[in-house]
Symmetry: D4
Subunit: 251 residues, 8 copies
């Protein structure tokens, strides 16, 4: 950003930019105001990267409007999370999206060829955790990562997890998804030597208190290298996993 400021200042000195225009530019930010939302184009403008729309709490009309604004501004790879089947149907009648109902997630464009440092393992404790796990896995794939899915490997049946110990030990990043007692990230974190992103889910009943039990367990994990995202936040975990898997030397 600094270099941009410097460039603007040099334009001012050279006279090629008026003071008022410079002021405008210095304040200009890459978003489009469409009333109910300020559509961010940061990633597109700066990096040619994909944009994300968080679908929950938005009407199909609002989502469509944001989508169209993004597309008009040159963004053709867009991820939409927490999109209900109904909203997806309404949306797909007006624009081309691929919808994954299992994860309530849609996207425009195709998945890129996978890259990055290595494989991302998405491990899930039980069958009921799949929607969250799939949100993480598909997000990671959307951002160009190879993903290995290890589902139904809860710690109460350790042999199932240990069967896939190689996958766990060779992963570049692991997303560990679990509800109930939320112990999976601790066990996985003890086996692996890579960053583990723990995702508590709201799966459970009674004293799970909507995922609170799993959340607290994960925050208290004894295993090193474990960090936690919000309950049911599969997208956040998949996005961060991709970010870590694409780490590059900064000069």
């Amino acid at each position: 950003m600094d270099t941009e400021i410097k460039r603007i200042l040099e334009c001012v000195r050279s006279g090629s930019l008026s003071v008022d225009d410079a002021l405008l530019r210095l304040k200009g930010a890459p978003f489009v105001d469409i009333g109910f939302a300020k559509v961010d184009l940061h990633r597109t403008v700066r990096q040619g990267a994909a944009e994300v729309i968080y679908g929950a709490g938005k009407t199909p009309a609002q989502i469509r409007s944001i989508l169209e604004t993004m597309q008009k501004n040159g963004c053709d790879r867009i991820l939409i999370t927490r999109l209900s089947p109904d909203a997806a149907a309404a949306l797909s009648s007006v624009c081309r999206i691929t919808y994954h109902e299992s994860a309530a997630l849609a996207h425009t464009g195709a998945f890129p060829a996978p890259g990055g440092i290595g494989k991302i393992v998405v491990a899930a404790g039980g069958t009921s955790d799949l929607p969250v796990a799939e949100e993480a896995a598909l997000t990671a794939e959307f951002y160009g990562n190879r993903v290995t899915r290890l589902y139904d490997v809860g710690v109460a049946g350790l042999h199932r997890l240990l069967t896939y110990k190689d996958d766990v030990m060779n992963a570049a990043v692991i997303v560990a998804v679990a509800g109930m007692e939320g112990a999976l990230p601790s066990v996985v974190g003890g086996l692996a030597d890579c960053p583990v992103i723990a995702v508590p889910t709201s799966v459970g009943y009674g004293a799970s208190f909507g995922g609170l039990a799993a959340l607290l367990a994960m925050l208290n994990s004894c295993a090193s290298g474990v960090s936690v995202v919000n309950i049911d936040n599969g997208f956040g975990a998949g996005y961060l996993a991709s970010m870590i898997n694409h780490m590059e030397v900064k000069p």
Copy 2:
């Protein structure tokens, strides 16, 4: 109890017991009122078994007074839990007790020869969980059980626990003690085929909230056969483990 009532009634019918005396007996209960406490002698009277004094919140003088009342009434095997070193010192100057400082636990008399169905395994997640684990282990020994201690076998270093898989799989009952994320009972419960008594400890900081995280995790355990006692309640776990380990066919 019914047979006792029946016996009293028959004495009344035969005239060997007056109505008033019978009334008294029917209402008589095996405890001694010493003002600040009603010293229970239930176990002694009915079963010749040991009595327990919960030491927390009682002055050394009160504990001594209860102890002496028990001893006067023929009870010579008494367990005292949550006894501070100072209170233990004050107590040992007036009567013979054996004090285990690591568990803040004292007892009169010797440990009986161990019996029961099999071995009780007391497993603990970390070094800081030892006081609670020892309270459980010593309680079980006081009640006549063989105890195998597996300490510092937290799930974040699974190989340590798996090294002792035989002990776990051959236990009659397991007491699993853990603070932090409280995942040990789930993993142990998945490996074993016996009752697992989970003891959350207040070990931890931050989001452990005084053992709440471990408690919730244990209550949400996916493993079958797991039940939970109060945070730091080593005595309760050891007592219940002994009770289960001494199960006998009731006619």
Copy 3:
């Protein structure tokens, strides 16, 4: 497990098993991967015992698929918990199950002849606690136990419970189910000399906070021999009660 490892190693030494096959076997675990689930056959393989499907959060199609996988692998005694009437109807059109609507529980096969050390008493505080109590009672019966049901014996009407004091005092194991103030296990635990498994229920309103009040009360029980399972976890209590009632001397 060790003996199995030893046997495999001896096969390797004798040459009857190649290194790669041995590796496979050492890692092979008795489960079947059907995509969304890894169907566990542990109990069947090792013990000829019954398997359990936790029905909540699974579609009828998923449950059916797991059921068929189990049956194909020789397991003919299967318990399905938390099965809604609709899912039960869908399931019973394709396979033979017995459905208990009061407990939202189904099973294949018949109940075995009851055995074990003695009787399991399932006591419940109020009429609204019945679904949870029945889940516990039917689970215990499914695993081969004689069950005595004591329903609507809440502590605020003590005479109702005391009428059945004989049942309480002669039980091998007691499952005490209660919502609201959750005091039943404490009173029952004081009367009985056997393990008491406390099940808090979400029955209540206002400050019951979905069963939290009952849960905390049970965890704080002054009675010895009481342990607690998750709110509404009738299955867990029934399973553990059966496990304790079938304790046998381990060599």
Copy 4:
């Protein structure tokens, strides 16, 4: 109050009271402002009754100053609650008080002859609940009630409570004090036909969460006629019990 207003207005009409003086009187309230406190003399002025000083969070100097203000204004029966031994010592060097260390409670003057409808029973679950129970019992005695103390009658040893069933069933009002699982008021409330004031105490550890478990249990009591005061609020319970025990027909 209305009659007083009417009288003042009639004085104004008759000219025996100026408008300004009437205004003053209408606004005049029976308290004395001593800077850090507005000492209330309501009870003294209206009823010749006793006043109360809540000692916690006040310095001995502040307590003394309030006490002296009360005494100067004709109040000679004063109760001081939550008074530490040190503060009591400081206070007794300058004025005559009777101090009950067990309840951290002091008073000036003697206890009046007991009266009221009947006896107040103060029942307490365990030895550690005594300070709170004594605060309730002494408060009731200070306000002129006969008090029966039933201590150490926790529900986990039901026979101890049942021994005193007559006291419970004949009480005019019952104060039931308990920490831990807080079940005493439910059981007592089921036995008795009189108002039961439940006092949760902070006695306990782990999941008692400073008395929260007992508080919630008491609020969820199934027994009719039970109401609850704050954790450790022995004074409040004793005061309310006395108020109920002195109910009189209002015209």
Copy 5:
């Protein structure tokens, strides 16, 4: 109860009662077991008083069955709380009940002539608190009390409450119902010299957390003579108010 035991014992001595029959009687309790419930007839048998059915969580068929059992055993004054309009309709097609939809409360028989020490004031903070307030008021009327209703007198508009200060100051007992900040009992308790039963309601949003805010406020009330029942427990408050309003000297 003791006198009954004594009488039975004397019958045994005189031979007019066999030992077994006496045993039966000693254990006989006034309830009828109808499977899913043990219908209590305590009040009817002992006092000719009215019985109560807590309607929530019971089917119309279950309620009807309990009702009929009570009626068959001579109880003709029955109160049914938490009865939905649908359940009330189903019930009224088979037996005569009076239904108050505003309070979701029904009863058989007529209200008795009001009696007791004085008037019961039921004060409510806002319009939304009316269902709970009416449950308290109708319960009190069902048990034979004169009730004064003061609705919509929340403390944020103090003049409304002060307009009815006479009612407040002349009440025998006050039931103070409030959601939101729950301050009404404190203000009312400061004005009145009689017992105040505080009923928090779940009325509110956001940080009211389902009535928790009001509940905590009421438990912390600075006013003397205030005690609290469960959130939305209008019945409990009305019942207790009636109990206090009918206090009579016990010999």
Copy 6:
């Protein structure tokens, strides 16, 4: 109020007002009792100002009844909050209201010409916070304020907020509305030198716990000049903002 009392007293002295009438007047308060509600006319009577009806938990019939009572008593500017579209439709068939569905808010009469000290800025973190933000903005406009809306300026995209730094720095009062992490008021409060009213919203999922996370964050704000209203309380914030924006020197 005092002057009114003085005037009444002088009328009594002069004989132009009887004692009884004076008593009536002294007790007379500006509200109308319509049974289920005491309709307050305080603002109208004292200030000719607008009245407010809190629509939640009231039936359309009740709202209409209150509205008509207000109108009959000369109040023609009435705000109705938390009014569902259905209730609005029912209401608009019988009287003239303007309904803003986005904020679930209606009013009679037109918005007054805006006045006050300066502009009120209503800033909102995300699109889902709009209903609450609009409730605040429309309330402020109804009370005669100029309002600048800054929506979708959450702190995770700081450039969007900084683009409008001038509006923030020149505001007279700021209402900062945010769910999720609730950080907007802290950042806004650091930029501005005016009072900031923070409104947490229930927007979010998982560990937002219905707005608790945002609420706690706002209460802990390091920025000076920030205060907080209840979760989703847009009206309260708009009302207070208007009150501050219309501050005038009091003599």
Copy 7:
């Protein structure tokens, strides 16, 4: 800030400022980095106003160091909050401060002549709330406001508050400080027509949960014009009250 940017840009165009220097200035912010802290001089530089040091969690040496940095940069009116007597003593040995022990608050320089729109009333519920109330009152005085203190006016003794109704009704801003049930702001807010800043205190015991009860009550206040600051945050309330009391028309 914009005008400053504009001025810098004009200097660049005119050549009186190099591009690099301009860059520096644009990034230069009015704080001084002293290692462990970045001492803010914002208020001094922009407004000649007073600065604040939050004393809690800082050593006397750190506070002194920050103080000296401020003074060196021309700031001679500094407020230090949460300063323990020991830290105050250590500080006063090296520089001139005025220390108010009752509020744990110190300041350099004298209080300015009071100004603003009107009077700030600081009302407190009980004697124990005084430290927080004094923090608010002294802060307001430090910032140039007339303050009226109304202490010990809790709502359970309404006549004490009503005696000062004139002060309440004539206030420009009110700070209402209360622990326990936290009802004072609601009652005060109903009486007054000005902004009320509610300050919950941690005064209380048991179910006050460190001020949580008061906090929740205040957030749920039915009175309009009430907003809330953190528990015990007297400074925040006093600062905001001053800010509101000094509102001026912004062009």
Copy 8:
């Protein structure tokens, strides 16, 4: 691990390893049992890496014993966290450690030359957060990373953070440490394009509830790429930051 198993199996086939020895090896794990702890040497054995001792809840004697066991087994780079000054003094009398009191952290050996992908920025909100921030920073340095410290850059004074925007935008990984409202990670996460590890601290008072407010805020962060560790867990954040900064392509 697999390759090791394979190698062992091949030794068995070739006869160079007996079946029993192989069994032993297969079960052998790289830890040393010293009674109260099982000292893990995993990292040393597998990677020549450094080991960590969590000092809290361990006596100096226990720490020393673990340290010596590690050193005896060839580990010369050891980190000790949560070490009190007293324990550090006791330890340094018997072995060479470097102690950083500001972070309560010690280590043996020197810091290695920094490496990895780029710089790790440790940003902290306030002066009181320094101990936690330093724990993170020193941990990162101990594991071979260049660390940039940005302290006292809380969001309520945004200009301080923005001054260091370059550091933020050029970081490889950011550790964002904050108490109170915990907003720093959201703002930092919006500015940066790298992983942000959020560390809530227990700094604050009142409604910060020991760091809960900051924790919840961070879990709800709208910024992508943010994950959270336990309250005050500086070590965990520093360790994970190092792990991410040393990501390397896995084959």
